[in-house]
Symmetry: C2
Subunit: 511 residues, 2 copies
């Protein structure tokens, strides 16, 4: 692919001057449309060493209205970034709606560096390029535009630039020395060609294709980049609009679904009543709490991330379970994240973005009191998102959890199941107790009326997202004692299983 | 202070069981009031090694409604934190309104560690305890409550606990080894007593006093902590309410200020017209842009943070100056931050909080297109904040800038001055040009009518916040060429002066 390009093309100063201002004005107009339509764009600038990535980034940065642009300089991961899964840092840096993010290098430079240093490859069995494809696909599905450029120069020009310039003094978060590191972590010219070709082949997606920019002359690259960005954005805004229109027409014509609900296949067969005596409870609770406290030290040392997700009916006892399971833990190693509706700022991002901010570091545990599954539960039932959005979410969630698992995570997911009679008893008890009245709201009563719709949603969720590395556990929760002990036990067993797997791997490696 | 405590006090299991639930319920009620009144609380738990800080933090964490609580575990600074000024990380972790933040160790442990390792002291000439006092004072002034506990145990108990437990396995962001580090960075028992006494003496503030908790028995400490937290919060909520009432009465009775405005002493004497030819401009511009690009590498290597603040009349040409000054810079080393009104999430914090998120790392530059000075300009003139708030802001800003300067910063602040005729010409030109119409809004015309009020505000601002380490430069800006060249020149000179000072220091150190 790279070798088919004519690197001798150039633009004259006169031609450049004649068109550059118009291109910038055009881009500025598009930027305002992006803001108006509340969309976001990622522009990735990759290329060979010395190909002028930073100068081109600066040209684009300057061409854009600063209120709607972010430059993201990708270098070696920070310590916080190393303590999370591979793509975590990019999720965190996702542009909000109305913003164009320009990436000065990206996950691709990291992927190349990691591919090149085979040592690091071990820890990413799925491969960083695979992760890149997943990431871009998820963004595209959510209406983001991802534009990818690769700057190509000749070997001669590369040698010249590296000799002349201090173009790689800058690398975020390092005390200089970037040049030395990059020399070691980036391949030479011809070796590079092979790696880049592989990268193009595997990541040239329909929704985010690669464009090669000839960068022997920076002005030429700038003009080509601007033209390409403008046409990509125009096409994409057009598509967004026609999607909206099609969707609205489709919605209006759609027949209402039949109001008869199917029997629940998952929850229908489960008896939510499992008895447990107070004396047994006290003893078992002490035992498993102690066990989990010991395991906390073990998974901290093994750098395992633990995700515990609590979903369930209102008043099913999620909070009570969470207080018990954390009561002997060290607060430096866990966090409880109560998840409510997204706020106005969070709504400007992909719906998974805010959860990435809550994810535990290696060795830590996050307990989610409700979670990203809200997308396929409350948001589906209440119509807070479109149908295509929640339908897509099953796949998106499985993909995310699979990547987390690959990064050494334990993922335990609970659905706390009580029956309608038990819920009514608990609602009434709360209302009768002046200390607990604040816990019950009109919304709880409204949700209760939609029991059937939630039942279908829970069924679908459990069928579609119970994967081998992130199983759902349905917890009979009419008896609080049983539910509290059982959840801690399941967590302990899941952590132990992962620790065992670790030990086996270690033994295998030693052989 | 420490030696006057009777460490043998204890609570019986019966007494504990009898009161603990009531204390928790009471605290929960207060938590809901905090949410309603949109205030925030910081609870600092400090203490000797092995005094049970984490277990107590966990007790408090569990006692509170998880929707309104955050645990912040303070350990060694992360690389990002090291790349900023001393208190940056705590500003970043400030609780939003409605939230209680529980600090498992805090800036005090860091201060003690740094005090103990004299090596690190050099870089904080003002002293970390001084910085702590400033920080807490600023929070108190803004209506935050800061509660500070110190857990005291006997030497015998300390030895026993350190022998028995793995209580210090956890330290955020480290691969274990915390115990070893803490042993080196924290003083022994008696040496500690001396340091802690010094800490109490210097930081026992009226608004945030120290409470010593006897922690030989964790239940006793928990009960004392809960009682103390409850009474502190009650008193503080009471004060907040009476402040609001007093303020409203005072406001209602207040006489309207006379509408005659004094002559501006700062801007009044300045001729905004300084001519510059296009040919001189082109030459000078090239020279200073090149100079700044060279200096960028120098200040990156010297780890100097550069803050450039642009304030000025609407249409004074801030954006044009910024584009010119950044045009040859490496985008990996600078950011332009356009500052608009705070959004709904930002409004839940101290007004300076959002700026901390924009501050450059060591070696980087941030260019602010408007800034924290909005507090004493637009917010004052438009009444977006209370009078006591903007009056307090001068001191708060000076304090902040002084700490930044102490952390190796260059702070350059511009007021771009044009006269009213020139502004009118530019407004009309914008309105006439279809490509620029979007730049001019009704708000701009409204602001123009308040020219006189802004003049007073600018006067006050420049008088009160032009400090030796963060001077204001008033830029005659009727001629755009002159303003653009002059601002880059001032920035270059300020950076060079700081680099020179560095070299002198280095020479001095070598002697």
């Amino acid at each position: 692919m790279l070798e088919t390009f004519d690197l001798s093309v150039r633009i004259s100063s006169e031609s450049y001057d004649a068109i550059i201002d118009d291109l910038r004005v055009k881009l500025n107009e598009l930027q305002r449309q992006i803001q108006k339509q509340q969309r976001a764009v990622l522009i990735i600038i990759e290329g060979r060493r010395g190909s002028g990535i930073s100068p081109l980034v600066n040209k684009l940065y300057q061409a854009l209205d600063p209120r709607g642009v972010r430059v993201i300089a990708v270098g070696e991961p920070r310590d916080v970034e190393r303590a999370h899964s591979l793509m975590w840092r990019y999720w965190n840096q996702l542009p909000a709606s109305g913003v164009i993010a320009i990436f000065d290098r990206s996950w691709y430079s990291r992927a190349i560096a990691e591919q090149y240093n085979a040592k690091e490859m071990d820890s990413f069995p799925d491969g960083p390029l695979h992760a890149a494809v997943d990431f871009e696909t998820q963004l595209a599905a959510d209406g983001y535009l991802v534009i990818k450029f690769f700057l190509e120069i000749s070997e001669k020009e590369q040698e010249k630039r590296i000799r002349e310039k201090h173009w790689d003094v800058f690398a975020p978060g390092t005390k200089g020395g970037a040049e030395r590191r990059e020399k070691n972590s980036l391949p030479g010219y011809h070796e590079g060609t092979a790696l880049f070709e592989k990268m193009f082949m595997r990541t040239d997606l329909a929704s985010s294709p690669w464009s090669i920019l000839v960068a022997e002359q920076i002005k030429y690259a700038e003009v080509q980049a601007l033209k390409s960005i403008i046409s990509s954005i125009e096409l994409w805004l057009q598509r967004q609009r026609s999607f909206q229109e099609t969707y609205l027409i489709h919605k209006a014509e759609e027949e209402q679904p039949p109001s008869v609900l199917l029997e629940s296949t998952v929850l229908g067969n489960l008896d939510p009543d499992v008895p447990m005596d107070r004396s047994v409870y006290k003893e078992e609770m002490k035992r498993w709490q102690k066990k989990l406290a010991d395991l906390q030290i073990a998974f901290y040392k093994a750098r395992i991330q633990v995700f515990v997700v609590f979903e369930g009916w209102d008043a099913a006892g999620k909070g009570g379970c969470i207080v018990r399971l954390t009561s002997l833990l060290n607060p430096r190693g866990y966090v409880v994240e109560p998840v409510a509706a997204p706020n106005i700022v969070e709504n400007r991002y992909h719906y998974l973005w805010r959860f990435y901010k809550m994810f535990p570091e290696n060795g830590h545990m996050t307990v989610f009191d409700r979670s990203w599954y809200g997308r396929v539960l409350v948001e589906r039932v209440e119509g807070f998102c479109r149908e295509d959005e929640w339908k897509r979410a099953y796949y998106e969630i499985n993909q995310m959890e699979s990547l987390l698992y690959g990064n050494n995570a334990v993922i335990v997911k609970f659905w706390l199941h009580i029956d309608q009679d038990e819920q009514l008893r608990r609602f009434e008890a709360r209302q009768a107790d002046s200390k607990k009245q604040w816990k019950i709201t009109d919304e709880d009563w409204r949700n209760r009326e939609k029991w059937g719709q939630y039942l279908s949603a829970v069924d679908d969720m459990i069928h579609r997202t119970s994967t081998p590395h992130a199983l759902w556990t349905i917890v009979p929760a009419n008896n609080k004692y049983y539910a509290r002990v059982y959840t801690i036990k399941v967590i302990c067993e899941a952590i132990e299983a992962r620790l065992q797997a670790h030990k086996k791997e270690d033994r295998y490696k030693k052989k």
